[in-house]
Symmetry: C2
Amino acid sequence: MSTAHHCDAAARAEQVLARRGARITQLRRDVLRALMREDRPVGAYQLFDQLKARDAASAPPAVYRALDFLVGEGMAHKLQSLNAYVGCACFEHAHDAHFLICRGCNAAEEVPTTAIRKQVDTDAAERGFAVERMVVETVGLCADCKGRA
Amino acid sequence: MSTAHHCDAAARAEQVLARRGARITQLRRDVLRALMREDRPVGAYQLFDQLKARDAASAPPAVYRALDFLVGEGMAHKLQSLNAYVGCACFEHAHDAHFLICRGCNAAEEVPTTAIRKQVDTDAAERGFAVERMVVETVGLCADCKGRA
DNA sequence: AGGCGTCCGGTTACATTGTAACCATCGGCG
DNA sequence: CGCCGATGGTTACAATGTAACCGGACGCCT
């Protein structure tokens, strides 16, 4: 696993944010990079500990604020079933996602939601429900971990 | 809104559990009924406070254990995006669900997942991922709250 | 009936996750 | 320059969830 890919993701994300006119501060950059460096979901306090060790963060609220910013910009997602965050160098401001979360290796693969979103919209429309946000998370075993079982 | 419906739900759930041979203790019954009495998601500590007031629960772990039992039996679901629980007088041991969660009135309507589940299975199969559990939650405004806006 | 093993829940003490509130600072802008 | 909104530092806490240990209840078997 080369780190090049992850650096690229962070760099790409920063470019997108810049083009968008978003304020990229040092803290936000640090959080973004820390997130991207991992290829797994990371807890807010895990991030905090990492950053704290480098004097890059002062206290939990700072980290949560940066995470909220990144999630709002679509550069991170929160995994509700893990209370953890993953990075995502996406070009859309905010977008929903479907995560395949492996309970073997803790990887979380983001996959597109077009078909699911359509079905959710149908379910909602039938009931006059206006969709704002969607959470889709699937827990199980990835191909590798399934094999290793 | 009559309470009859909710009592029926709790009674029905207890019947199903009984037929299944599950151990229905006083605590579990109390938690089940408290859950069913609400028509909204309820936090574990909210339940705890209610039960505590009636001397029906001693401490948080007891409530969490009862909730785990009920979720395992398919008589309750956890809403990951709210950290809250809802009852469900279903006949399946465990089943996934799609929840339409209204941020106006906090109602959570459970709707079937057949179509979504199929798509999730497809997404997963394409990547060799073995699905075990699925979380689908949609946040927005229900018909009533949309109107009231 | 007696003894055994398992399941359940009481209890204590914490761990983890998330936030409210207040203030200092910084950067842009008139 | 002086104002203003956005950002983040700081403190103190709220809310959510759990580990570990124990005793008692219950079913089951002999």
